[in-house]
């Protein structure tokens, strides 16, 4: 279980809190929606959970323990994959920086091997988002923070990606789905938290 205990965050001691004493629990295999108005700190909460930022107060735990160093079991995925991939790397190197997926894993997210020798600007945004998703879902990954990952995609691609993610959730992946799309959250999440 991924838990936030009284998590608080502010950029400096002189500025107001962005998040104050937030408690959140995400079970393995569960999809939880997180919604709320813009600027309320949804993404900040996601980055805190993934260990990308240090909280000003409170702590994050996985099954009651401190998250391990090294490969983070909580992976954070952003809306724009363009920024999350090195523009000077080819797709093969981008994916294999995290792990080496087999054909079945690639098929789950419809990542084609023919993209492997291209640069990230040479495939479309939707294709690159699948690449980023495949990369993040290494065997070490237990929880995925998906921050609006499908809001820039067409409905068909959106459905395909969430079908694949629901399949992963059935295998034990915990997903925190951050989105403004209430219809989507209603459809996929077992419960929705409003920040």
């Amino acid at each position: 279980m991924l838990s936030a205990h009284h998590l608080s965050f502010r950029y400096s001691p002189h500025t107001p809190f962005i998040l104050e004493a937030v408690d959140l629990h995400l079970n393995a295999g569960e999809i939880v929606g997180l919604t709320g108005p813009s600027g309320r700190g949804k993404s900040t909460l996601g980055r805190l959970l993934a260990g990308q930022m240090r909280p000003s107060g409170g702590r994050v735990s996985i099954n009651g323990e401190k998250p391990p160093a090294g490969f983070s079991p909580v992976q954070y995925l952003h809306q724009s994959p363009v920024f999350a991939t090195d523009p000077r790397w080819r797709i093969s190197r981008i994916i294999e920086e995290a792990w080496i997926p087999d054909a079945a894993a690639r098929e789950d997210f419809r990542v084609k091997e023919s993209w492997y020798d291209r640069y990230s600007h040479e495939i479309s945004g939707g294709e690159l988002q699948r690449v980023a998703l495949l990369r993040a879902l290494a065997p070490e990954t237990r929880y995925l923070i998906s921050d609006e990952i499908t809001s820039m995609l067409d409905p068909l691609a959106q459905a395909e990606i969430w079908q694949a993610l629901i399949k992963r959730a059935e295998q034990g992946l915990g997903i925190l789905a951050i989105s403004h799309d209430h219809a989507l959250l209603q459809r996929i999440a077992s419960r929705v938290i409003t920040l």
Binding site: Q52, A69, F71, A84, R135, A138
Partner: protein
């Protein structure tokens, strides 16, 4: 357009003229221009340095392409010698400037807020001072001569590259793909090697190459006004300032050819710098 033209196979076309080939050609042309200067200077040896009073102030001819000066020196040989001297000053000064820039950029981005403030202040201060005045001061304080010019040019040309490298490092450090790499458990050493270096090396290389023309032009300028290289050496600045006395007497070739050659050398470096920049960036679709 006919169907045949549309379906013509790409393989089998002997030469595909595209942007990449044009860029490589321009870069090679620039490099060979520089090679000609180096090889030519070695081949001429002492020719153009020894006087020949039987051939004074001759206009350009087949025997003397760029004419001769008041001592009977062949101006073509002298121009090549001058360009080689400029190249040497350029190599040393640009390399030193680049080393200073890299060192300061790393200091600014890794050693905390105060180091950053200090480096930014140094960059602002060095950029705020008038360039040529600073060059004259340093060269004059060091007593003139080739070494003084090299030092003066080297210690005045780092600010712009420092600023570029500092900005690039800061930008990459907060880039999403570096954060992602850290999430995959990669060490800062790995990130530095595989994410930072591929972005920084092209910037550094292009910065280095584009410093050459600056260094060469400032060397010539400094020498022209008399604060640079010794008047006995065949530097371009010396040739140009010597030509001033004879230009009014109609000896146009003394000034035209050395000046033109200097511009061509600068353009050679520009071609190389621009080519490297385009070839190193996958987003330019020339890889």
């Amino acid at each position: 357009m006919t169907d045949a033209a549309l379906t013509r196979p790409v393989t089998g076309v002997p030469v595909r003229r595209n942007k990449r080939i044009a860029t490589i050609a321009a870069t090679c042309a620039g490099a060979s221009g520089i090679a000609v200067v180096v090889v030519g200077s070695l081949a001429f040896g002492n020719f153009g340095i020894e006087p020949d009073f039987s051939a004074r102030l001759l206009p350009p001819s087949l025997a003397h392409w760029f004419g001769t000066d008041q001592f009977g020196h062949d101006m073509f040989a002298r121009t090549i010698h001058g360009l080689k001297l400029s190249l040497w000053v350029g190599v040393v000064a640009a390399t030193l400037s680049t080393l200073i820039a890299v060192g300061l950029a790393i200091l600014a981005t890794t050693c905390g807020r105060w180091a950053d403030i200090l480096v930014s202040f140094l960059v602002d201060a060095a950029m705020g001072l008038p360039h040529l005045v600073l060059l004259i001061l340093i060269s004059f304080a060091l007593g003139g001569g080739t070494h003084a010019v090299i030092v003066a040019v080297a210690v005045t040309h780092w600010p712009r590259l420092t600023r570029i490298l500092r900005a690039e490092i800061l930008q990459i450090r907060h880039a999403e793909f570096v954060i992602a790499s850290r999430q995959f458990g990669k060490s800062w050493w790995y990130v530095g090697q595989h994410h930072f270096l591929p972005h920084l090396v092209p910037q550094m290389l292009v910065g280095l190459v584009l410093l050459f023309p600056h260094a060469i032009l400032h060397e010539a300028g400094l020498t022209f006004i008399g604060f640079g290289i010794e008047p006995t050496k065949p530097a371009i600045g010396i040739l140009l300032s010597d030509s001033m006395r004879y230009l009014t007497a109609g000896k146009w070739w003394l000034g035209l050819f050395p000046g033109l050659s200097l511009v061509l050398l600068v353009l050679c470096f520009d071609a190389i710098g621009n080519g490297l920049r385009l070839l190193a960036d996958p987003r330019q679709a020339q890889t």
